[in-house]
Symmetry: D2
Amino acid sequence: MIITLKKNAPKHDVDKLIDKFEGMNLHVTMIQGDNYNVFGLVGDTSVVDEKSVMANPIVYNVQRVAQPYKLANRMFHPEDTIVDVNGIQIGGKKIAMIAGPCSVEGEDQICRIAKEVKAAGADMLRGGAYKPRTSPYAFQGMGTAGIMAMVKAREETGLPIVSELMSAEHLDEFVENVDIIQIGARNMQNFDLLKAVGKTKKPILLKRGMSATIQEWIMAAEYIMSEGNPNVIFCERGIRTFETYTRNTLDLSVVPIIKERTHLPIIIDPSHAAGDYKLIESLSLAAIAAGADGLIIEVHDDPEDAWSDGAQSLKPKRYAELVEKGKAIAKVIGREL
Amino acid sequence: MIITLKKNAPKHDVDKLIDKFEGMNLHVTMIQGDNYNVFGLVGDTSVVDEKSVMANPIVYNVQRVAQPYKLANRMFHPEDTIVDVNGIQIGGKKIAMIAGPCSVEGEDQICRIAKEVKAAGADMLRGGAYKPRTSPYAFQGMGTAGIMAMVKAREETGLPIVSELMSAEHLDEFVENVDIIQIGARNMQNFDLLKAVGKTKKPILLKRGMSATIQEWIMAAEYIMSEGNPNVIFCERGIRTFETYTRNTLDLSVVPIIKERTHLPIIIDPSHAAGDYKLIESLSLAAIAAGADGLIIEVHDDPEDAWSDGAQSLKPKRYAELVEKGKAIAKVIGREL
Amino acid sequence: MIITLKKNAPKHDVDKLIDKFEGMNLHVTMIQGDNYNVFGLVGDTSVVDEKSVMANPIVYNVQRVAQPYKLANRMFHPEDTIVDVNGIQIGGKKIAMIAGPCSVEGEDQICRIAKEVKAAGADMLRGGAYKPRTSPYAFQGMGTAGIMAMVKAREETGLPIVSELMSAEHLDEFVENVDIIQIGARNMQNFDLLKAVGKTKKPILLKRGMSATIQEWIMAAEYIMSEGNPNVIFCERGIRTFETYTRNTLDLSVVPIIKERTHLPIIIDPSHAAGDYKLIESLSLAAIAAGADGLIIEVHDDPEDAWSDGAQSLKPKRYAELVEKGKAIAKVIGREL
Amino acid sequence: MIITLKKNAPKHDVDKLIDKFEGMNLHVTMIQGDNYNVFGLVGDTSVVDEKSVMANPIVYNVQRVAQPYKLANRMFHPEDTIVDVNGIQIGGKKIAMIAGPCSVEGEDQICRIAKEVKAAGADMLRGGAYKPRTSPYAFQGMGTAGIMAMVKAREETGLPIVSELMSAEHLDEFVENVDIIQIGARNMQNFDLLKAVGKTKKPILLKRGMSATIQEWIMAAEYIMSEGNPNVIFCERGIRTFETYTRNTLDLSVVPIIKERTHLPIIIDPSHAAGDYKLIESLSLAAIAAGADGLIIEVHDDPEDAWSDGAQSLKPKRYAELVEKGKAIAKVIGREL
């Protein structure tokens, strides 16, 4: 940790601060500058609260050198983590393709679409049973009936299923029935929910919060991991920016960054980022080329009558075309799909 | 609702869309343009999902005219809502002053600071017992012991108490002990939590999400109100922007906007917005001048040793000076403090 | 143009507004809603200033239906524009590869790097002679000597040259010597400069402003085109967001959007977006897969001693590897490189 | 400057880097950490390019301690700068009130409005003669005729005049006729224009760029000052954020920050930030309470027929009311208006 002091800080106050740090078993090195003096603290600086240090009137700036995450940090875990989902691996050579409707609308609908996306090349099925909707007056999801309809679709197709958990109240239902538990963007810093899923061993798909920095996102993974669950899969779904043409701005630079900083897999959700089916193919192929470990894409066979997010859903035929092109791109970069 | 169709949309498809809307009991008016045709839909358009309409390939654009909120909407409730908190009113002539430490650190600490902020002019006491921290390794709050320490501080000073609820699991504890339940920025779209506090009658301090639009924020209030709880107080605490000098960017334009669009009170939290005690006085006086109904400010008597957020905490003496200036400004705009 | 009036707008004022629009030769259709009334204006609405309409107290909202750009609009020019740069085409089947150092540092340096990037597969040479630097104390570019060094590099390699023009004062020098004139992000709305380059026939590389919406960017192209120069090439170089890990956030969704909305080519600059050489390959391959018409990449043979932007420069060898992979991806999507 | 090296950087490369810095007459202190090693550089680090250092593969991070600005830096110039504009002072006890229409529309209009704003309490007159418009098809300003109409208004009222310069081409006209030269948000990093106005002694009103950080804004002032012109007045006019309800988000925290970091005056433009006349009074009073040195507000006597920006213009009567309230708030914080 590097602490910059203000010019002309009284010697008495500087000494007091040094004593305080040494009392925390930290080693202090001082660099005398022309207008500022700088402390370097060596040791376990995780015990130091940066904001309390900043509260000291002689302090000008505080900067952490070490990353605040440990379990997710590639520095301490150099090899890639591969998350196993009922035999399908995320983070290995093969790129995982997850597809399905935004909302489960009934058993027929989800079973029908499951077969279609499987035929088109999907490895897993997505579908929302509990829906985070901006309006309390909008369809809030089928709940348990939706989860059970997905279970039926899994029985009929063999595809593992992914669904979003919005409240710890339904955790048991998800642990029992679902193969990947999704934590949505709006709950990325719902720390109680993170701790709850951290106590399971289920694979967790952790979506990036709409305005979460990469570091905050990794810290959310760290919350899950610190409770004992190492099976975290990052999912970028666009960040909120000033641009309103797209629903969100897909940030593909996170693919190489997450891989450099952590050992965990990362997949891309182009559907929520773009909010427009016409952009999905471009962004999906880009994600594969960038090195993503998977894609989660909304597919519906009747988008105009979908109960939610129709505008961003691909029809199965277009999805199948995308998968074909994706395969060719995966091969170029030494992967499979 | 205004729907713009693409040029040269096939007549057959246009007619089919008109039929669909008329089947929803909506009246359709058509405006023929040179390059686009426009539908106006009149009636209860809350039954129409914009994104499904957008999924129709002949549709170019969809725009809602009416606001999607009803209970919070000033159009249907012209007079101001005043929220009563144990006899202290928020939203009336008097500006409510809430102060206290970021975290409760013990009974002595919170009782001592409670007395100091009361002496300085505060009307209510804030203090965090359950803390949303970016890191799982940071102090997570005293929990129940912290809530009980605040109850003790209320007994000793008479100040109503405000604290943040992070999970519905602790709702009973909060309903029983706390005077205002705070929903933090990170949980503004934790819809299950919003529904849970909506089932109580407690005043709810609803912080704006870090990247929430004004409309999303009002919709979060609508979630609470639609469950039966009309006692919502908005709290602006800064939004996330590209600027990193301040922790967040305080958006004071929300004060007149929330008052124009809704009938609910709005207070300002300059401490979390600025993240720096040196900026608090300026921003607090600005908030009063802008017409805010209250201020919630972090005050600590030993910021350098605070367990969290020391850098943004005022000492009681500086808080007292701020209250004095605030009184004079309140008078200028016809209010009290 | 769609104008929403407030509820209970006085009939007299509504009639006055209708008269005003009819006086502008616009046809007015009215849709009566429950809480709002809506006008549709048909005709040449480019004569109507939205903000003046909004100034009318009976008006609630104004929305343009037609895009404000004409010359750049694909609606009126369906076929792709291909810009010819000394025989090299941008916007056709072949993806254009532009490479070179951030700053020209001397004739030897630029000639040497020109040969290296040519050998690695580049089609054109970039190099800054006039540099927009945040600090007045930083190296400001070699100026005319830098341009002449680039001319020399062109003579030696045959590569067309691209350089940034910062002021109309140097326009003649650029028209005479440079093959593509670059307008930098900071000058995207320097309207006098746009008009000046619009009076030439030179190809213009128009970088997106750091916080420019897609529409503002297209309008900047419209400024150039409206002066008579149709040779505009868009260049995305990252937008400013809350994320600070990367210098800017590369927005690849603009590739399909620009191609849908306009008929002009679009290329990608991953170097300025990422600010970190380690991210360039991922983002470059993603850009090709997304459908970009070209890439402009910073390459330097001694990044640690570069006079500017060393951290984001690739060494020639890594650039050559990138080109090889890019070729394979281009083939997958039916293009060449 | 603090440089963090990667763990296990080869000793040979570390020594080479130390030699390089010592060759620049910098003193190097090293702090050995567990996972990182840190260099502190002492001396004139303005000669070091951060991005070149970052290009070295053994370097993990680089941080400047000293601010990169000198002339604007309060550290080296502790007393407030007061800019004199024809006898009216900006930055002293009195808060400067600048008002007038967005665009000059003719001599009658500007003279009439000048008298109205003077009667209402304004100290100076604003008016645009050269207009930066998003669309090439919108009114671009009256040009020289507009400037001469403002000169006439000054003759009739005695109010100094403020107008925006968009190109160095018109600099002589502005130096001769205008009292304050405004540099607009879109040109804040048009470095050639900054250098040009830096060569005059005219007061410069430097608007903050739409997505400029505070540091970039101060560096733009430094550009002007480094050419010899110390008369820079900062003007905050809102920044671009995700929120679209307002045109931009007014960032009032810059008032105390600019005053802490620099010695220059800062004024606020609530009109362009809000884009809506209904928000102007709240934001103006807030700006005064926050400590701003002045306000620049758009006033028009017929906003519905204004040639630009009608929606955000106050009528003179409302402006006069605002001035009255502003006077009372100024008094509270020990200032005048």
